[in-house]
């Protein structure tokens, strides 16, 4: 049974390998370690966001406001840096995470206390957060000249051969793996997704657990707000516009079931990397970047079709495990 559950990650890993082999066959330099690390670094932000989204989707909810949260937090942090260059980076990081968590917990409160469906709540806050970026910035940009050197340079600092940005992704992935597999909170995400009624009877507060999931996804979005803004050295109203769907796509390709209760950290990691490899491979094999959108669309559809087959059975297995616990 355990082998069955591992299958999906193995297949996805093979698909990524296959992609790498095809591209490398024509362009040997593509698979050089340095380039692979660059791809990983490029995908780091997507990995973190997709992991945050996974926590929410596991509980049968969805967070459409992540990209808007990212843009708003990124703008606040960038403006703070522009106005008060003296504020140290750790303080800015803390600020980004807390603002993001606050925005996420607002979603969570509406879902928890008022029982409004998550898709409606986050559809509303998506437009509100995005609009607020414009209001606080007056539509202006924060550009490279206004950002401090350490603000831009921090995530580019190379530690043990990897940029800090990559280390962030690794740390977040490890943290998520720990929470999902080793803590009561992580297990209750799965339990709620598989069977909310049964979860209530086992003593799980469903609303509060959803609230936690939204706060976590918000915190991740906030962290990525700073990382995004300092990576692309621009904070504007359009930052990460439409990116919420790419995040969900990474989850789906990684095997997270939109019906809740199914999904692994490893799967999401590979799902995000799969999209990252495609995006990086297209220019190399000289396919116009305009193909990128259609290809990721096709990849999503293929992933859902492949997912759909095993899902029912695996859902029950997780339920049994949850009942035994």
């Amino acid at each position: 049974m355990k082998g069955l559950a591992k299958h999906r990650e193995i297949w996805l890993g093979l698909a990524i390998l296959f992609l790498l082999v095809i591209v490398t066959a024509r362009f040997p330099r593509f698979a050089q370690p340095q380039n692979l690390l660059t791809i990983f670094n490029d995908t780091s932000i997507l990995i973190m966001l997709a992991l945050g989204q996974m926590a929410v989707i596991l509980t049968r909810s969805i967070d459409l406001s992540m990209a808007a949260n990212l843009a708003l937090t990124g703008m606040v942090v960038a403006m703070t840096n522009a106005a008060f260059p003296g504020v140290p980076i750790p303080a800015l990081l803390l600020m980004a995470v807390s603002i993001g968590a606050a925005l996420g917990s607002f979603n969570g409160l509406l879902v928890w206390k008022l029982n409004i469906p998550a898709i409606v709540v986050t559809l509303g806050t998506l437009t509100i957060y995005r609009g607020l970026v414009f209001v606080i910035s007056n539509g202006a940009w924060v550009n490279a000249a206004q950002m401090g050197a350490d603000f831009i340079g921090f995530q580019r600092t190379v530690l043990l051969g990897l940029p800090v940005l990559s280390w962030f992704a690794i740390a977040v992935a490890l943290l998520f793996w720990l929470v999902m597999t080793r803590t009561p909170l992580g297990r209750s995400f799965y339990a709620i997704g598989v069977n909310p009624t049964a979860s209530v009877y086992t003593g799980i507060n469903v609303g509060r657990t959803k609230f936690m999931a939204f706060t976590i996804s918000g915190a991740v979005a906030g962290l990525c707000g700073y990382l995004w803004v300092s990576r692309y050295v621009i904070a504007s109203t359009e930052v990460a516009s439409g990116y919420e769907l790419t995040i969900i796509a990474a989850c789906v390709i990684g095997g997270v079931s939109i019906a809740g209760g199914i999904g692994t950290v490893a799967g999401v990691l590979l799902g995000a990397i799969f999209l990252g490899v495609i995006n990086n491979a297209l220019p190399v094999v000289n396919i116009s970047p305009f193909w990128q959108m259609a290809i990721s669309g096709a990849a999503i559809l293929l992933a859902v079709v492949l997912n759909a087959r095993g899902e029912q059975r695996r859902g029950r297995i997780i339920l049994k495990r949850a009942e035994a616990a």
Partner: protein
């Protein structure tokens, strides 16, 4: 939507659903909101109360509202379509492509609407034929459809639509009454009759309230849903014709973000996102409200992005208020 059908399972009793108890007064609430905004608008700007201004206002929402009509039925049945704006992009691109080969107005319209129906059928097949969750399928087709537009157009655009074609987006039937408005009202009546006065409409509600029960009562669930996806696709195709005719050009980024606006209209109109409840009258009122809000704020020189804050807040507040009200009443 598996996600939504699932989330009301932990409600103790469907009859206690707060959405249902307020549905009777929902339309009256919307009428009050609309009148309030109308009065505020006319006080705020001297340019508002003018036949031509009001006519211009309708262009703000008719195309999105046409999609919202079909989307309402789809959401009542418990599904959702996030690919509608992408269908507009693809339909518009294919019309532009046909134009390059010398197609004239009737052919262009046939291609626009036909593309919409084909895209809707594709969604419908994936959801009903392969039994996949519609929210994921349409996130996928959303990238796919718009992606094809990007492949065809890249950073180019199609221009030079004939005048007879432009009339559909810019023409007036009589005085200040535009063709778009007449078409919208016509379709609103058709959809109202379809949902409230036919067996098909009853089946849509039945599927949304309890799909299993509907199936056991002999409702052909898959076929009904497939038709609803085709209808939503067709309305997106029609919206593509109108929008392309109004703008006079096609870019792959056309109608970006419209899926969320159309869904906001539907939900604001009182349709339960969990399925099983809602009315066309509510959706039509919500469309007018959104048109009034955006146009009124526009007259006050409020930028579009700031308007979206009002729309988002309106969506959450209008849904939260009745729930808070019923919670407060229960406590008292």
């Amino acid at each position: 939507m598996t996600q939504s059908t699932a989330s009301h399972r932990h409600l103790p009793n469907r009859l206690d659903n707060p959405f249902k108890s307020i549905v009777l007064s929902w339309e009256s609430l919307l009428v009050l909101v609309a009148i309030g905004i109308f009065i505020l608008n006319s006080m705020a700007s001297p340019y508002f109360l003018n036949a031509w201004s009001l006519s211009d206002m309708t262009f703000n929402f008719t195309e999105k509202a046409l999609i919202a009509l079909a989307m309402a039925l789809l959401i009542i049945s418990g599904e959702i379509d996030l690919s509608v704006a992408a269908i507009i992009a693809l339909a518009s691109t294919l019309m532009g492509l046909a134009l390059q080969y010398g197609a004239d107005t009737p052919v262009l319209i046939a291609i626009g609407v036909g593309t919409g129906i084909a895209c809707g059928a594709f969604n419908g097949f994936l959801v009903t034929g392969l039994k996949l969750p519609s929210i994921v399928v349409t996130i996928g087709t959303m990238s796919l459809f718009r992606g094809i537009s990007f492949i065809i157009l890249g950073d180019q655009s199609f221009k030079g639509y004939p005048a007879s074609f432009s009339w559909f987006g810019q023409g007036y039937v009589w005085w200040v009454i535009s063709f778009e408005l007449v078409l919208f009202i016509g379709f609103a009546v058709v959809y109202w009759a379809l949902l409230q006065r036919t067996n098909f409409g009853r089946r849509v509600y039945a599927i949304g309230s309890n799909e299993t029960a509907a199936l056991f009562s002999g409702v052909r669930v898959a076929r009904t849903k497939f038709i609803l996806f085709c209808l939503t696709g067709a309305m997106s195709g029609i919206a593509a014709v109108l929008l392309t005719a109004r703008l006079g050009s096609t870019r792959p980024s056309i109608a970006e973000g419209w899926e969320l606006e159309a869904i906001t209209m539907v939900v604001l109109g009182g349709v339960s996102i969990l399925g099983g409840a809602g009315s066309i009258i509510g959706v039509v009122l919500a469309a007018f409200i959104m048109g009034l809000v955006t146009f009124g704020l526009g007259l006050l020189n409020v930028p579009g992005i700031v308007m979206s804050i009002f729309i988002g807040a309106l969506l959450i507040v209008v849904i939260a208020l009745p729930i808070l009200w019923s919670m407060w009443r229960q406590r008292a």
